[in-house]
């Protein structure tokens, strides 16, 4: 089942067209999306680096999560809402963009990693939170988080490039990955 018809319907709605064609609204939403990186990913990076024992070594992990998590959550909500709006403005092209698809996969993995950390090893943070060298599972969570959010950012930036857009007629592999209709297939 393809989500293409849904995206096409979304693109035809009044507010999607309005946002897409707006002179200032779209750039403003996009700027908010990008600048909130500083809050959301910035704070996450500091937590991840603490889990790896690279910074804030004298601060317990528990304090870092207690004090910085609310900021991360606030940042994530802004990222999520503006992200949905950006997709809503350009649904079909985003859906068929290989970087957008990769970004969503990385996003799900990053979310999964954060969830496993919080319901897992973080549950008894009071036992190990003060250690500079945290348990392997916590260090893995920190490293995975750094890698996955970096991937999300790079893929997100690349969505802007049309290298593999359907109208560029990408090769057979990309055609599968982007879900573009083939050149000689009836539309």
């Amino acid at each position: 089942m393809s989500l293409l018809p849904f995206c096409e319907w979304l693109a035809s709605t009044k507010y999607s067209v309005a946002l897409h064609e707006s002179l200032y609204m779209y750039p403003v939403v996009e700027s908010v999306h990008v600048l909130t990186l500083c809050l959301f990913v910035g704070m996450s990076v500091m937590l991840d680096l603490r889990l790896l024992g690279i910074t804030l070594r004298r601060v317990s992990v528990q304090e870092v999560t207690d004090r910085l998590l609310p900021w991360m959550v606030a940042g994530f909500i802004v990222m999520f809402v503006t992200g949905i709006l950006l997709f809503y403005a350009i649904p079909v092209r985003s859906y068929q963009n290989v970087f957008f698809r990769l970004k969503l996969i990385a996003l799900v993995l990053a979310g999964l990693n954060a969830w496993i950390f919080h319901v897992g090893i973080h549950q008894n943070v009071h036992q190990w939170g003060a250690d500079v060298r945290t348990p392997p599972r916590a260090r893995f969570a920190g490293a995975a988080s750094l890698f996955l959010w970096a991937l999300v950012i790079v893929c997100g930036r690349m969505i802007a490039y049309n290298w593999f857009d359907c109208d560029m007629h990408p090769g057979p592999v990309m055609q599968v990955l982007t879900g573009c209709p083939g050149k000689d297939l009836p539309k």
């Binding site: 990186l37 950012i153 790079v154 930036r157």
Partner: protein
């Protein structure tokens, strides 16, 4: 003349290499964005602490000491990748108002971060008034926000 410098950059081999490549600008920009996250984290960690809403149980000089290497290193990455982005399109940037705003705010934010803010962060907390911390944090956040916002706007204009 300033415009002569921009024209000279436009004639360099580096300009040719970056601007004629399909992917180079995109890759440099991605690194610029990755460093943005880190510099954002380093700036916010200390400014939130100044405002009393961050790592409250740590002393301000302690938080500043932990944040400083990340601020400096991400600043260097931002500048290096920023120069590469500049080299790729100097003649466009010469006529871009957001570019000149960004450079102005960048100069102010950098000067502020490495002089006033640094001094205040390292000072004995007993000798600094709470209002001073809050003012420094607000000026810092406002300046860096303007750098980021005008930087993003370069891409939307022209």
């Amino acid at each position: 003349m300033v415009s002569d410098f921009f024209l000279w950059v436009d004639a360099t081999r580096a300009h040719q290499v970056i601007s004629s490549s399909t992917w180079m600008f995109a890759v440099i920009e991605s690194i610029h964005l990755l460093a943005l996250s880190v510099i954002g984290g380093a700036v916010l960690m200390l400014d939130l602490r100044f405002l009393g809403v961050g790592l409250r149980r740590q002393s301000i000089p302690d938080v500043a000491r932990d944040a400083q290497p990340w601020l400096v290193s991400s600043w260097v990455v931002m500048i290096v990748t920023g120069i590469a982005l500049f080299v790729s399109e100097p003649t466009k940037l010469y006529y871009s108002a957001p570019f000149w705003w960004k450079m102005t705010f960048l100069l102010l934010a950098t000067l502020f971060a490495f002089t006033v803010r640094r001094k205040v962060a390292q000072a004995d907390e007993a000798h600094v008034r709470p209002l001073t911390y809050k003012l420094v944090a607000l000026v810092s956040l406002a300046l860096w926000f303007c750098v980021g916002a005008s930087g993003r706007w370069i891409g939307f204009s022209g």
